[in-house]
Amino acid sequence: MIKKEHSPILEVHDLTVTYDSKPALYNASFGIPKGSMVGLVGPNGAGKSTLLKALMELVPHSNGYVKFFNENLDSVRKKIAYVPQKESVDWDFPATVFDIVEMGRYGNKSLFKRLNKEDKEIAKEALAEVKMLEYADRHISELSGGQQQRVFIARALAQKADIYLMDEPFAGVDVASEKTIVNILVQLQNEGKTIFVVHHNLQTAVEYFDWMILINKNIVASGPTKDVFTPELLQKTYDGNLTTLEQIGQVIQNKQFSTRKS
Protein backbone atom coordinates (compact mmCIF):
# COMPACT_ATOMS: atom_id res chain seq x y z
CA MET A 1 0.00 0.00 0.00
CA ILE A 2 1.68 3.17 -1.13
CA LYS A 3 -0.37 6.32 -0.81
CA LYS A 4 0.14 8.74 -3.69
CA GLU A 5 1.07 12.26 -2.73
CA HIS A 6 0.18 14.97 -5.18
CA SER A 7 2.67 17.63 -4.23
CA PRO A 8 5.29 15.79 -2.19
CA ILE A 9 8.14 17.68 -0.52
CA LEU A 10 10.26 14.54 -0.96
CA GLU A 11 9.68 12.24 -3.89
CA VAL A 12 11.50 8.96 -4.44
CA HIS A 13 11.05 7.08 -7.69
CA ASP A 14 12.24 3.53 -8.45
CA LEU A 15 15.29 3.99 -6.24
CA THR A 16 17.62 0.97 -6.21
CA VAL A 17 20.88 0.72 -4.29
CA THR A 18 23.22 -2.25 -4.60
CA TYR A 19 26.25 -3.24 -2.55
CA ASP A 20 28.53 -5.68 -4.40
CA SER A 21 25.72 -6.29 -6.92
CA LYS A 22 23.34 -7.40 -4.14
CA PRO A 23 20.39 -5.04 -3.86
CA ALA A 24 20.18 -3.39 -0.43
CA LEU A 25 17.18 -1.37 -1.50
CA TYR A 26 14.97 -2.33 -4.38
CA ASN A 27 12.71 -0.13 -6.53
CA ALA A 28 11.65 2.20 -3.73
CA SER A 29 8.97 4.70 -4.70
CA PHE A 30 7.08 6.97 -2.34
CA GLY A 31 6.21 10.59 -1.64
CA ILE A 32 6.15 12.52 1.63
CA PRO A 33 3.73 15.40 2.29
CA LYS A 34 5.15 18.65 3.63
CA GLY A 35 5.12 19.06 7.39
CA SER A 36 4.81 15.39 8.25
CA MET A 37 6.67 13.43 10.87
CA VAL A 38 7.71 10.29 9.07
CA GLY A 39 8.91 7.06 10.66
CA LEU A 40 10.90 4.66 8.51
CA VAL A 41 10.35 1.26 10.10
CA GLY A 42 11.51 -2.24 9.25
CA PRO A 43 13.61 -5.18 10.49
CA ASN A 44 17.43 -5.13 10.77
CA GLY A 45 19.12 -5.15 7.40
CA ALA A 46 15.97 -3.92 5.67
CA GLY A 47 17.83 -1.02 4.07
CA LYS A 48 16.60 1.79 6.33
CA SER A 49 19.97 3.54 6.75
CA THR A 50 20.79 2.76 3.13
CA LEU A 51 17.64 4.56 2.01
CA LEU A 52 18.53 7.59 4.12
CA LYS A 53 22.09 7.64 2.78
CA ALA A 54 20.80 7.24 -0.77
CA LEU A 55 18.52 10.25 -0.27
CA MET A 56 21.60 12.32 0.66
CA GLU A 57 23.64 10.75 -2.17
CA LEU A 58 26.12 9.26 0.29
CA VAL A 59 25.76 5.94 -1.53
CA PRO A 60 25.45 5.72 -5.32
CA HIS A 61 22.07 5.02 -6.91
CA SER A 62 21.91 2.07 -9.30
CA ASN A 63 18.59 3.26 -10.60
CA GLY A 64 15.84 5.78 -9.97
CA TYR A 65 15.82 9.33 -8.67
CA VAL A 66 15.19 11.44 -5.58
CA LYS A 67 13.65 14.89 -5.61
CA PHE A 68 13.37 17.39 -2.77
CA PHE A 69 11.00 20.31 -3.41
CA ASN A 70 10.78 18.93 -6.94
CA GLU A 71 14.50 19.58 -7.45
CA ASN A 72 17.77 17.69 -7.30
CA LEU A 73 19.63 17.54 -3.99
CA ASP A 74 22.46 19.79 -5.19
CA SER A 75 20.23 22.80 -5.74
CA VAL A 76 18.43 22.54 -2.36
CA ARG A 77 21.21 21.19 -0.11
CA LYS A 78 20.95 24.07 2.36
CA LYS A 79 17.33 23.19 3.12
CA ILE A 80 18.13 19.64 4.19
CA ALA A 81 19.88 18.53 7.36
CA TYR A 82 21.14 14.99 7.86
CA VAL A 83 21.85 13.43 11.25
CA PRO A 84 24.01 10.30 10.89
CA GLN A 85 24.12 7.47 13.42
CA LYS A 86 26.24 8.67 16.30
CA GLU A 87 28.39 5.52 16.05
CA SER A 88 29.60 6.65 12.64
CA VAL A 89 32.18 9.10 14.04
CA ASP A 90 35.14 8.97 16.41
CA TRP A 91 34.10 10.78 19.60
CA ASP A 92 37.76 11.05 20.68
CA PHE A 93 38.28 13.69 18.01
CA PRO A 94 39.83 16.81 19.61
CA ALA A 95 36.80 19.12 19.69
CA THR A 96 34.42 20.67 22.18
CA VAL A 97 30.66 20.33 22.03
CA PHE A 98 30.42 23.86 20.64
CA ASP A 99 32.98 23.09 17.91
CA ILE A 100 30.75 20.29 16.63
CA VAL A 101 27.53 22.32 16.68
CA GLU A 102 29.32 25.14 14.87
CA MET A 103 29.99 22.76 11.98
CA GLY A 104 26.28 22.96 11.21
CA ARG A 105 27.02 26.47 9.93
CA TYR A 106 29.82 25.39 7.58
CA GLY A 107 27.43 24.63 4.73
CA ASN A 108 25.97 28.12 4.57
CA LYS A 109 29.04 29.84 3.27
CA SER A 110 32.42 29.15 1.82
CA LEU A 111 34.65 27.04 4.06
CA PHE A 112 37.31 29.71 3.68
CA LYS A 113 35.31 32.44 5.41
CA ARG A 114 35.19 32.90 9.15
CA LEU A 115 31.99 32.26 11.03
CA ASN A 116 30.43 35.53 12.19
CA LYS A 117 28.62 36.53 15.34
CA GLU A 118 25.28 35.46 13.94
CA ASP A 119 26.58 31.96 13.19
CA LYS A 120 27.85 31.62 16.75
CA GLU A 121 24.53 32.88 18.08
CA ILE A 122 22.62 30.31 16.00
CA ALA A 123 24.90 27.52 17.22
CA LYS A 124 24.37 28.63 20.81
CA GLU A 125 20.58 28.68 20.39
CA ALA A 126 20.66 25.20 18.90
CA LEU A 127 22.68 23.97 21.84
CA ALA A 128 20.20 25.56 24.25
CA GLU A 129 17.33 23.84 22.47
CA VAL A 130 18.79 20.40 23.13
CA LYS A 131 19.48 21.49 26.73
CA MET A 132 23.24 21.19 26.37
CA LEU A 133 24.34 24.81 26.64
CA GLU A 134 26.21 24.23 29.89
CA TYR A 135 28.24 21.52 28.12
CA ALA A 136 29.42 23.88 25.34
CA ASP A 137 33.09 23.80 26.41
CA ARG A 138 33.21 20.13 27.33
CA HIS A 139 35.21 17.75 25.22
CA ILE A 140 32.97 15.46 23.18
CA SER A 141 34.54 12.30 24.60
CA GLU A 142 33.04 13.13 27.99
CA LEU A 143 29.44 12.79 26.77
CA SER A 144 26.96 9.95 27.28
CA GLY A 145 25.25 8.34 24.30
CA GLY A 146 22.16 10.47 24.74
CA GLN A 147 24.21 13.65 25.01
CA GLN A 148 26.17 12.75 21.87
CA GLN A 149 22.89 12.34 20.03
CA ARG A 150 21.67 15.71 21.28
CA VAL A 151 24.87 17.35 20.06
CA PHE A 152 24.29 15.85 16.62
CA ILE A 153 20.73 17.14 16.62
CA ALA A 154 21.92 20.59 17.70
CA ARG A 155 24.35 20.57 14.77
CA ALA A 156 21.42 19.81 12.44
CA LEU A 157 19.28 22.54 14.06
CA ALA A 158 22.11 25.02 13.45
CA GLN A 159 21.73 24.27 9.74
CA LYS A 160 18.27 25.93 9.85
CA ALA A 161 16.91 23.42 7.36
CA ASP A 162 13.36 22.64 6.21
CA ILE A 163 13.74 18.87 6.04
CA TYR A 164 15.48 16.82 8.74
CA LEU A 165 16.66 13.29 8.02
CA MET A 166 17.73 11.37 11.12
CA ASP A 167 19.29 7.92 11.32
CA GLU A 168 18.21 6.11 14.52
CA PRO A 169 18.22 9.18 16.81
CA PHE A 170 16.71 7.14 19.64
CA ALA A 171 19.14 4.21 19.56
CA GLY A 172 21.21 3.89 22.74
CA VAL A 173 19.71 7.02 24.25
CA ASP A 174 18.57 7.51 27.88
CA VAL A 175 14.96 8.35 28.74
CA ALA A 176 15.63 12.04 29.43
CA SER A 177 17.42 12.49 26.11
CA GLU A 178 14.67 10.66 24.24
CA LYS A 179 12.11 13.02 25.76
CA THR A 180 14.16 16.09 24.84
CA ILE A 181 14.58 14.85 21.29
CA VAL A 182 10.88 14.04 20.87
CA ASN A 183 9.98 17.53 22.10
CA ILE A 184 12.36 19.06 19.56
CA LEU A 185 10.86 16.99 16.75
CA VAL A 186 7.33 18.08 17.73
CA GLN A 187 8.44 21.70 17.86
CA LEU A 188 10.07 21.42 14.43
CA GLN A 189 6.88 19.95 13.03
CA ASN A 190 4.86 22.80 14.53
CA GLU A 191 7.16 25.19 12.69
CA GLY A 192 6.14 23.47 9.45
CA LYS A 193 9.33 21.42 8.97
CA THR A 194 9.31 17.90 7.59
CA ILE A 195 11.01 15.18 9.62
CA PHE A 196 12.12 11.78 8.39
CA VAL A 197 13.35 9.36 11.04
CA VAL A 198 14.81 5.85 10.86
CA HIS A 199 13.28 4.04 13.80
CA HIS A 200 13.33 0.48 15.11
CA ASN A 201 11.00 0.49 18.10
CA LEU A 202 7.46 -0.35 17.02
CA GLN A 203 5.99 0.52 20.42
CA THR A 204 7.07 4.13 20.22
CA ALA A 205 6.83 4.40 16.43
CA VAL A 206 3.08 4.40 16.55
CA GLU A 207 3.19 7.14 19.16
CA TYR A 208 5.72 9.44 17.51
CA PHE A 209 4.93 9.42 13.80
CA ASP A 210 1.92 10.54 11.82
CA TRP A 211 3.24 9.09 8.56
CA MET A 212 4.93 5.75 8.27
CA ILE A 213 6.97 3.88 5.72
CA LEU A 214 7.38 0.13 6.16
CA ILE A 215 10.47 -1.23 4.48
CA ASN A 216 12.10 -4.58 3.91
CA LYS A 217 14.44 -4.18 0.93
CA ASN A 218 11.47 -2.75 -0.92
CA ILE A 219 8.75 -0.42 0.29
CA VAL A 220 5.95 -2.47 1.81
CA ALA A 221 3.74 0.49 2.65
CA SER A 222 3.80 4.26 2.87
CA GLY A 223 0.98 6.39 4.22
CA PRO A 224 -0.66 7.88 7.31
CA THR A 225 0.22 5.81 10.39
CA LYS A 226 -3.37 4.75 11.01
CA ASP A 227 -3.60 3.19 7.53
CA VAL A 228 -0.17 1.63 7.49
CA PHE A 229 0.16 0.28 11.01
CA THR A 230 -2.02 -2.81 10.45
CA PRO A 231 -1.27 -6.44 11.38
CA GLU A 232 -1.27 -7.53 7.72
CA LEU A 233 1.23 -4.93 6.55
CA LEU A 234 3.46 -5.34 9.60
CA GLN A 235 3.48 -9.10 9.13
CA LYS A 236 4.45 -8.59 5.52
CA THR A 237 7.32 -6.35 6.65
CA TYR A 238 8.63 -8.60 9.43
CA ASP A 239 7.86 -11.90 7.70
CA GLY A 240 8.41 -14.88 9.95
CA ASN A 241 10.06 -13.06 12.83
CA LEU A 242 8.05 -14.40 15.79
CA THR A 243 9.23 -12.20 18.60
CA THR A 244 8.64 -9.13 16.53
CA LEU A 245 5.20 -10.38 15.56
CA GLU A 246 4.28 -10.83 19.21
CA GLN A 247 5.45 -7.32 19.86
CA ILE A 248 3.31 -6.12 16.96
CA GLY A 249 0.24 -7.94 18.35
CA GLN A 250 0.73 -6.22 21.66
CA VAL A 251 1.04 -2.81 20.09
CA ILE A 252 -2.01 -3.31 17.92
CA GLN A 253 -4.00 -4.42 20.94
CA ASN A 254 -3.07 -1.33 22.84
CA LYS A 255 -3.95 0.76 19.78
CA GLN A 256 -2.09 3.70 21.18
CA PHE A 257 -2.37 5.75 18.05
CA SER A 258 -1.01 9.21 18.04
CA THR A 259 -3.21 11.52 20.02
CA ARG A 260 -0.94 14.46 20.55
CA LYS A 261 -2.12 16.31 17.44
CA SER A 262 -5.82 16.21 18.27
Partner: protein, 280 residues
Protein backbone atom coordinates in the same frame (compact mmCIF):
# COMPACT_ATOMS: atom_id res chain seq x y z
CA UNK B 1 76.50 28.14 11.57
CA UNK B 2 77.00 24.41 11.02
CA UNK B 3 74.67 23.37 13.83
CA UNK B 4 72.25 26.13 12.92
CA UNK B 5 71.49 24.55 9.52
CA UNK B 6 71.10 21.11 11.04
CA UNK B 7 68.70 22.32 13.71
CA UNK B 8 66.77 24.53 11.28
CA UNK B 9 66.36 21.70 8.78
CA UNK B 10 65.24 19.29 11.48
CA UNK B 11 62.77 21.86 12.83
CA UNK B 12 61.19 22.53 9.44
CA UNK B 13 60.80 18.81 8.84
CA UNK B 14 59.35 18.49 12.33
CA UNK B 15 56.76 21.22 11.70
CA UNK B 16 55.67 19.87 8.31
CA UNK B 17 55.47 16.27 9.43
CA UNK B 18 53.75 16.89 12.75
CA UNK B 19 51.11 19.24 11.31
CA UNK B 20 50.20 16.99 8.40
CA UNK B 21 50.66 13.99 10.70
CA UNK B 22 48.04 15.43 13.06
CA UNK B 23 45.34 15.00 10.45
CA UNK B 24 46.74 11.67 9.26
CA UNK B 25 46.64 10.35 12.84
CA UNK B 26 43.10 11.70 13.41
CA UNK B 27 42.03 9.98 10.18
CA UNK B 28 43.79 6.79 11.26
CA UNK B 29 45.97 6.99 8.17
CA UNK B 30 49.37 7.54 9.75
CA UNK B 31 50.72 4.37 8.12
CA UNK B 32 50.75 6.31 4.87
CA UNK B 33 54.22 7.52 5.92
CA UNK B 34 55.47 3.92 5.94
CA UNK B 35 53.85 3.28 2.61
CA UNK B 36 55.49 6.33 1.04
CA UNK B 37 58.93 5.45 2.37
CA UNK B 38 59.01 2.37 0.17
CA UNK B 39 56.73 3.14 -2.74
CA UNK B 40 58.77 6.13 -3.90
CA UNK B 41 61.75 3.96 -4.86
CA UNK B 42 60.75 3.35 -8.51
CA UNK B 43 60.29 7.11 -8.89
CA UNK B 44 63.84 7.72 -7.69
CA UNK B 45 65.28 5.13 -10.06
CA UNK B 46 63.30 6.32 -13.07
CA UNK B 47 64.28 9.94 -12.40
CA UNK B 48 67.91 8.81 -12.22
CA UNK B 49 67.61 6.96 -15.51
CA UNK B 50 66.16 10.06 -17.18
CA UNK B 51 68.40 12.73 -15.64
CA UNK B 52 71.50 10.60 -15.26
CA UNK B 53 72.41 12.27 -11.96
CA UNK B 54 72.28 11.05 -8.43
CA UNK B 55 71.14 13.25 -5.52
CA UNK B 56 69.41 15.59 -7.88
CA UNK B 57 66.28 17.63 -7.56
CA UNK B 58 64.78 15.40 -10.27
CA UNK B 59 65.03 12.36 -8.06
CA UNK B 60 62.93 14.12 -5.45
CA UNK B 61 60.41 15.08 -8.10
CA UNK B 62 60.32 11.48 -9.35
CA UNK B 63 59.82 10.27 -5.79
CA UNK B 64 57.04 12.80 -5.17
CA UNK B 65 55.24 11.76 -8.35
CA UNK B 66 55.39 8.13 -7.24
CA UNK B 67 54.25 9.11 -3.77
CA UNK B 68 51.13 10.75 -5.17
CA UNK B 69 50.67 7.83 -7.55
CA UNK B 70 50.93 5.32 -4.67
CA UNK B 71 48.34 7.27 -2.70
CA UNK B 72 45.94 7.29 -5.64
CA UNK B 73 46.09 3.55 -6.16
CA UNK B 74 45.90 2.85 -2.42
CA UNK B 75 42.75 4.96 -2.33
CA UNK B 76 41.38 3.24 -5.44
CA UNK B 77 42.00 -0.25 -3.98
CA UNK B 78 40.38 0.86 -0.74
CA UNK B 79 37.30 2.36 -2.31
CA UNK B 80 36.62 0.18 -5.31
CA UNK B 81 38.57 -2.98 -4.61
CA UNK B 82 36.97 -3.53 -1.22
CA UNK B 83 40.32 -3.80 0.61
CA UNK B 84 40.81 -2.25 4.04
CA UNK B 85 43.10 0.80 4.19
CA UNK B 86 45.82 -1.19 5.95
CA UNK B 87 45.78 -4.01 3.40
CA UNK B 88 45.69 -1.60 0.47
CA UNK B 89 48.77 0.18 1.88
CA UNK B 90 50.56 -3.15 2.39
CA UNK B 91 49.81 -4.35 -1.12
CA UNK B 92 50.90 -1.20 -2.91
CA UNK B 93 54.07 -0.45 -1.02
CA UNK B 94 55.39 -3.97 -1.36
CA UNK B 95 54.58 -3.95 -5.06
CA UNK B 96 56.21 -0.58 -5.78
CA UNK B 97 59.24 -1.30 -3.58
CA UNK B 98 59.73 -4.59 -5.43
CA UNK B 99 59.57 -2.80 -8.77
CA UNK B 100 62.14 -0.30 -7.47
CA UNK B 101 64.55 -3.05 -6.38
CA UNK B 102 64.20 -4.87 -9.69
CA UNK B 103 64.93 -1.64 -11.56
CA UNK B 104 68.01 -0.93 -9.43
CA UNK B 105 69.45 -4.40 -9.87
CA UNK B 106 68.78 -4.58 -13.61
CA UNK B 107 68.52 -1.41 -15.72
CA UNK B 108 70.11 0.98 -13.22
CA UNK B 109 72.89 -1.36 -12.13
CA UNK B 110 75.58 1.31 -12.32
CA UNK B 111 73.59 3.94 -10.49
CA UNK B 112 74.84 3.20 -7.02
CA UNK B 113 71.54 4.25 -5.59
CA UNK B 114 71.74 3.05 -2.06
CA UNK B 115 68.40 1.83 -0.74
CA UNK B 116 69.63 2.48 2.79
CA UNK B 117 70.10 6.11 1.86
CA UNK B 118 66.38 6.47 1.33
CA UNK B 119 65.56 4.82 4.61
CA UNK B 120 68.24 6.40 6.80
CA UNK B 121 69.19 9.89 5.70
CA UNK B 122 71.95 11.81 7.45
CA UNK B 123 71.08 15.31 8.53
CA UNK B 124 74.67 16.14 9.47
CA UNK B 125 75.61 16.43 5.79
CA UNK B 126 73.01 19.16 5.13
CA UNK B 127 75.33 22.16 5.82
CA UNK B 128 77.90 20.76 3.37
CA UNK B 129 75.50 20.71 0.43
CA UNK B 130 75.29 23.40 -2.29
CA UNK B 131 73.34 26.53 -1.40
CA UNK B 132 70.54 28.62 -2.92
CA UNK B 133 70.41 32.20 -1.57
CA UNK B 134 72.93 31.08 1.07
CA UNK B 135 70.57 28.36 2.29
CA UNK B 136 71.50 24.68 1.80
CA UNK B 137 69.34 23.21 -0.98
CA UNK B 138 67.35 20.68 1.12
CA UNK B 139 66.61 23.34 3.72
CA UNK B 140 65.51 25.74 1.01
CA UNK B 141 63.13 23.20 -0.57
CA UNK B 142 61.71 22.23 2.81
CA UNK B 143 61.20 25.89 3.69
CA UNK B 144 59.04 26.40 0.60
CA UNK B 145 57.04 23.28 1.45
CA UNK B 146 56.58 24.56 5.00
CA UNK B 147 55.14 27.84 3.76
CA UNK B 148 52.69 25.96 1.51
CA UNK B 149 51.72 23.53 4.28
CA UNK B 150 51.14 26.21 6.90
CA UNK B 151 49.16 28.47 4.56
CA UNK B 152 47.03 25.55 3.35
CA UNK B 153 46.29 24.45 6.91
CA UNK B 154 45.45 27.98 8.05
CA UNK B 155 43.13 28.62 5.11
CA UNK B 156 41.65 25.14 4.99
CA UNK B 157 41.40 24.37 8.69
CA UNK B 158 37.60 24.15 8.58
CA UNK B 159 37.65 21.88 5.54
CA UNK B 160 40.20 19.51 7.08
CA UNK B 161 38.34 19.58 10.38
CA UNK B 162 34.87 18.74 9.09
CA UNK B 163 36.04 16.17 6.54
CA UNK B 164 38.10 14.44 9.24
CA UNK B 165 35.47 14.41 11.98
CA UNK B 166 32.38 13.36 10.02
CA UNK B 167 32.79 12.87 6.32
CA UNK B 168 29.16 11.85 5.77
CA UNK B 169 27.90 15.04 7.34
CA UNK B 170 30.47 17.10 5.46
CA UNK B 171 29.35 15.54 2.20
CA UNK B 172 25.70 16.36 2.87
CA UNK B 173 26.74 20.01 3.28
CA UNK B 174 28.27 19.87 -0.19
CA UNK B 175 31.90 19.68 1.00
CA UNK B 176 34.06 17.66 -1.40
CA UNK B 177 35.64 14.86 0.64
CA UNK B 178 37.81 13.83 -2.30
CA UNK B 179 39.31 17.32 -2.59
CA UNK B 180 40.33 17.58 1.08
CA UNK B 181 41.55 14.00 1.14
CA UNK B 182 43.81 14.39 -1.87
CA UNK B 183 44.99 17.82 -0.77
CA UNK B 184 46.13 16.36 2.57
CA UNK B 185 47.69 13.24 1.06
CA UNK B 186 49.32 15.17 -1.78
CA UNK B 187 50.96 17.60 0.65
CA UNK B 188 51.95 14.71 2.91
CA UNK B 189 53.62 12.81 0.11
CA UNK B 190 55.64 15.77 -1.18
CA UNK B 191 56.65 16.85 2.32
CA UNK B 192 57.54 13.29 3.30
CA UNK B 193 59.64 12.60 0.23
CA UNK B 194 61.65 15.82 0.63
CA UNK B 195 62.15 15.02 4.31
CA UNK B 196 63.33 11.44 3.71
CA UNK B 197 66.26 12.89 1.86
CA UNK B 198 67.57 14.66 4.97
CA UNK B 199 66.54 12.59 7.97
CA UNK B 200 65.49 9.23 6.53
CA UNK B 201 62.17 7.45 6.40
CA UNK B 202 62.03 6.07 9.92
CA UNK B 203 62.49 9.52 11.44
CA UNK B 204 59.80 11.05 9.23
CA UNK B 205 57.35 8.32 10.19
CA UNK B 206 58.17 9.05 13.83
CA UNK B 207 57.58 12.78 13.32
CA UNK B 208 54.23 12.03 11.65
CA UNK B 209 52.95 9.78 14.44
CA UNK B 210 54.57 10.67 17.77
CA UNK B 211 53.90 14.44 18.13
CA UNK B 212 50.17 14.14 17.31
CA UNK B 213 49.90 11.20 19.70
CA UNK B 214 51.48 13.36 22.39
CA UNK B 215 49.05 16.22 21.60
CA UNK B 216 46.18 13.75 21.80
CA UNK B 217 46.86 12.95 25.45
CA UNK B 218 47.46 16.59 26.38
CA UNK B 219 44.68 18.58 24.73
CA UNK B 220 41.09 18.37 23.56
CA UNK B 221 40.88 21.23 21.10
CA UNK B 222 41.95 21.02 17.49
CA UNK B 223 43.79 24.35 17.23
CA UNK B 224 45.75 23.61 20.41
CA UNK B 225 46.27 20.05 19.20
CA UNK B 226 48.09 21.35 16.11
CA UNK B 227 50.18 23.86 18.05
CA UNK B 228 51.19 21.35 20.73
CA UNK B 229 51.99 18.74 18.11
CA UNK B 230 54.30 21.12 16.23
CA UNK B 231 55.93 22.54 19.38
CA UNK B 232 56.57 19.06 20.73
CA UNK B 233 58.24 18.07 17.46
CA UNK B 234 60.35 21.25 17.29
CA UNK B 235 61.52 21.16 20.89
CA UNK B 236 62.40 17.47 20.58
CA UNK B 237 64.55 18.30 17.57
CA UNK B 238 66.43 21.13 19.29
CA UNK B 239 66.89 19.26 22.53
CA UNK B 240 67.72 16.04 20.69
CA UNK B 241 70.46 17.67 18.66
CA UNK B 242 72.03 19.26 21.76
CA UNK B 243 72.03 15.93 23.59
CA UNK B 244 73.47 14.24 20.51
CA UNK B 245 76.37 16.71 20.40
CA UNK B 246 76.98 16.45 24.12
CA UNK B 247 77.05 12.65 24.10
CA UNK B 248 78.65 12.50 20.66
CA UNK B 249 75.94 10.26 19.17
CA UNK B 250 74.00 10.66 15.88
CA UNK B 251 71.31 13.37 15.86
CA UNK B 252 68.41 11.62 14.15
CA UNK B 253 68.13 8.56 16.41
CA UNK B 254 68.53 10.81 19.47
CA UNK B 255 65.54 12.89 18.41
CA UNK B 256 63.49 9.74 17.77
CA UNK B 257 64.45 8.27 21.12
CA UNK B 258 63.68 11.50 22.95
CA UNK B 259 60.20 11.81 21.43
CA UNK B 260 59.31 8.23 22.30
CA UNK B 261 60.65 8.63 25.81
CA UNK B 262 58.70 11.82 26.53
CA UNK B 263 55.52 10.28 25.15
CA UNK B 264 55.80 7.20 27.32
CA UNK B 265 56.76 9.18 30.45
CA UNK B 266 53.78 11.50 29.92
CA UNK B 267 51.46 8.51 29.58
CA UNK B 268 52.84 6.91 32.75
CA UNK B 269 52.57 10.20 34.62
CA UNK B 270 48.97 10.67 33.49
CA UNK B 271 47.89 7.17 34.42
CA UNK B 272 49.60 7.55 37.81
CA UNK B 273 47.88 10.90 38.32
CA UNK B 274 44.47 9.51 37.43
CA UNK B 275 44.87 6.59 39.83
CA UNK B 276 45.95 9.00 42.52
CA UNK B 277 42.86 11.14 41.98
CA UNK B 278 40.61 8.11 42.10
CA UNK B 279 42.04 7.00 45.43
CA UNK B 280 41.60 10.32 47.20
Amino acid sequence: MFDFWIILTACIIAINSSLLGSFLVLRKMSLIGDALSHSVLPGIVIAFLISGEINSFWMLIGASVFGVFAILIIDWLNRFGGFGKDSAIGIIYTLLFAIGIILITSIAKNSDIDVDCVLFGDINTVPLLPKILAIPVPTFNLLIIAVVVILTLLLGLKGFKISTFDKNHAQTLGVSITFWNYLLLGLASVSTVFSFDSVGAIMVIGLIVIPPSFANIITRKLSRFLIISASFAVSSCILGHCIAIYLDIPTVPTIGFLMGLILILTLIFQTFNKNLQQHT
